[in-house]
């Protein structure tokens, strides 16, 4: 094809843009690796799990046990997922199969609104409203439970919106066939729609899990930030993300570097979840066509 000079300059500029955008991820991985190298080198992987406590600023040798924070991150996320998944799927069923048209539209807008609220604002509300309620019920208040409740509220829109999209991909023929067979609405949803949308639901949960693990501010504000293995719902905990946000400001040397190790761990896990989700949804798309 004929190419003028401006055309080829333009095409090189565009290529440069795309290259830069694509390189950011590599840059992030690179910097996380470089910054965490001193800690991995001097402390070694094992001590992050086997040291007696998290006390990185202590006189030589500091202690770097991240296990309680890893456990806290996982517990908060799993708790939030268990709470938000039925609610999110329920919401999608409501919009798709139960609500009158207008109500469904409004409900969908509300869910979209929930997705747009910044995490600090959820955190603020959790701190001022939710934590005192939990405290009056069972002190001290800032706790694993508070974290789970706030986080559930935050990931619910993700699950609900993605489930709605999955329901929309269920072929209308399935539903017509089910109605023709005389199945009730409930039966149709439970035995036809949900199985047909299974991979979409699974993707939604994986993505939500990634968001929950990576969420920082709201969790930091309501969980109390005590590094410990929680034994009950009312114990304060500190998640990996909260730890990074709190200590990054003053951390030096190996301490700083060990925070980057936790960042790398977090990034690896979340990216793994996102990629798995992507792979799943792509495979199901292939299976359909």
């Amino acid at each position: 094809m004929f190419q003028s000079r401006t055309d080829s300059i333009l095409s090189w500029i565009l290529r440069g843009c795309a290259m830069t955008s694509g390189a950011i991820v590599v840059l992030i991985f690179g910097f996380m690796l470089i910054e965490s190298w001193p800690a991995i080198h001097q402390i070694g992987w094992l001590r992050f799990l086997s040291d007696s406590a998290w006390n990185p600023t202590a006189q030589e040798p500091g202690q770097f046990n991240m296990l309680p924070m890893i456990v806290a991150s996982i517990l908060v996320s799993i708790g939030a997922i268990t709470l938000a998944t039925p609610l999110g799927i329920g919401s999608a069923i409501f919009v798709q199969y139960y609500s009158p048209r207008l109500v469904g539209g409004i409900y969908r807008n509300i869910i979209e609104l929930m997705a747009g609220v910044p995490s600090v604002v959820y955190g603020l509300w959790g701190l001022v409203v939710l934590v005192p309620i939990i405290a009056s019920w069972h002190p001290p208040g800032p706790s694993l439970l508070a974290g789970i409740l706030i986080l559930a509220m935050m990931i619910l829109p993700t699950i609900a919106l993605m489930t709605m999209a999955a329901f929309q991909n269920v072929p209308a023929d399935y539903i017509r066939a089910s109605a023709a067979l005389g199945l009730s609405r409930t039966r149709t949803i439970l035995s036809v729609v949900l199985p047909a949308a299974k991979s979409g639901l699974f993707t939604a949960v994986l993505i939500a899990m990634g968001r929950a693990l990576g969420e920082t501010m709201a969790v930091l504000m309501v969980t109390g930030n005590v590094v410990q293995l929680p034994s009950k719902m009312f114990d304060p905990v500190r998640t990996l993300t909260a730890n990074m946000a709190m200590e990054m400001a003053y951390a030096m040397d190996v301490h700083r570097s060990s925070l980057f190790v936790s960042g790398l761990l977090l990034m690896g896990t979340v990216v793994g979840l996102v990629l798995t989700a992507e792979l799943l949804s792509r495979r199901s798309r292939h299976a359909e066509t």
Partner: protein
């Protein structure tokens, strides 16, 4: 949205189980709305009484317990400006390359797309650490509006590119064929035809990106910093609105009222922005972008 032809097609048998299930679904919906209403009303009731012109323009005093959020708003806007002035050209260029200049399965395009997918999944706190390491330390910008804005630019890039690409894809292919048939050069086709036609998509991407950037806190705490003075240059540290809310509620005893008022301002801003986005998306793009 149920398709109208499908809605009434179920047999109207009401067994106990069906009733219970329907009640459960309605119960879930109502309780979520109630929960969110409680949250929203609380923010409004506690935040709005403090609203005034002075609150929006005055500088914070006494660590934010008194005064307003004037300097905070200026910092926020500056961070946003830095973010957009880097991410918009970069995102536009990338989106054009991906949708117009490379075949759908071209290897380079596929790699860029994959890496953007991964970028979209990176947690915001990791962006913050990366920004701190690269912009603040390695490039020597320190805690500054510039570092914060650049960090946010990396973060909003995937959203920007995705919706811009969608915008280009919604331009009918006839336009391109017609342009080629009349012998227009590719660059002329792009600037005179495709970009104007893709404006709705660009707008949605822009608005979503702004929303994401305004809501962000974790990536800014240790890139743009905490200083609540009026910034004098882009190399000054400046406190974003979301960081202000965080600081007031966590580190300042008695800052709750001001935190609520700032939160009401932030939520209000985001409401307007999301409203604009869904208006545009509904009108021109059929909601496809907002779905993710």
């Amino acid at each position: 949205m149920p398709k109208p032809e499908l809605a009434p097609s179920f047999p109207r048998v009401h067994r106990i189980g069906d009733r219970l299930f329907a009640m459960g679904i309605w119960g879930i919906a109502i309780s979520i709305v109630a929960w969110f209403a409680w949250f929203l009303i609380d923010i409004c009731v506690q935040g709005i009484p403090l609203f005034s012109w002075e609150f929006l323009t005055e500088a914070p005093r006494n660590a934010g317990r008194a005064g307003g959020i004037g300097s905070i708003l200026v910092s926020t806007l500056l961070i946003l400006a830095v973010c957009l002035s880097v991410s918009v050209p970069l995102g536009l260029g990338t989106a054009i390359l991906l949708s117009e200049y490379s075949a759908r399965n071209h290897r380079f395009g596929r790699m860029v797309r994959r890496s953007l997918d991964i970028l979209a999944g990176v947690p915001s706190i990791v962006f913050g650490m990366f920004g701190n390491a690269l912009f603040c330390m390695y490039l020597g910008m320190g805690f500054s509006i510039l570092s914060g804005g650049l960090t946010l630019a990396c973060m909003v890039l995937p959203i920007l590119i995705r919706s811009t690409e969608e915008g280009f894809r919604s331009v009918p292919n006839e336009y391109r064929l017609a342009a080629a048939a009349t012998g227009m050069s590719r660059s002329a086709t792009l600037t005179k035809l495709l970009i104007p036609a893709a404006v709705p998509g660009l707008t949605v991407g822009l608005v979503l990106g702004i929303g994401r950037a305004l809501a962000e806190t974790a990536a800014l705490i240790f890139t743009s910093g905490y200083v609540d003075r009026m910034p004098e240059s882009l190399l000054d540290s400046g406190r974003a609105l979301s960081v202000h809310i965080f600081d007031l509620s966590m580190n300042v005893a008695g800052g709750d009222r001001q935190a609520y008022a700032s939160a009401a301002v932030l939520v209000g801003l985001l409401l307007v922005i999301n409203g604009i986005a869904s208006l545009f998306a509904n009108r021109w793009l059929g909601k496809k972008i907002l779905r993710q």
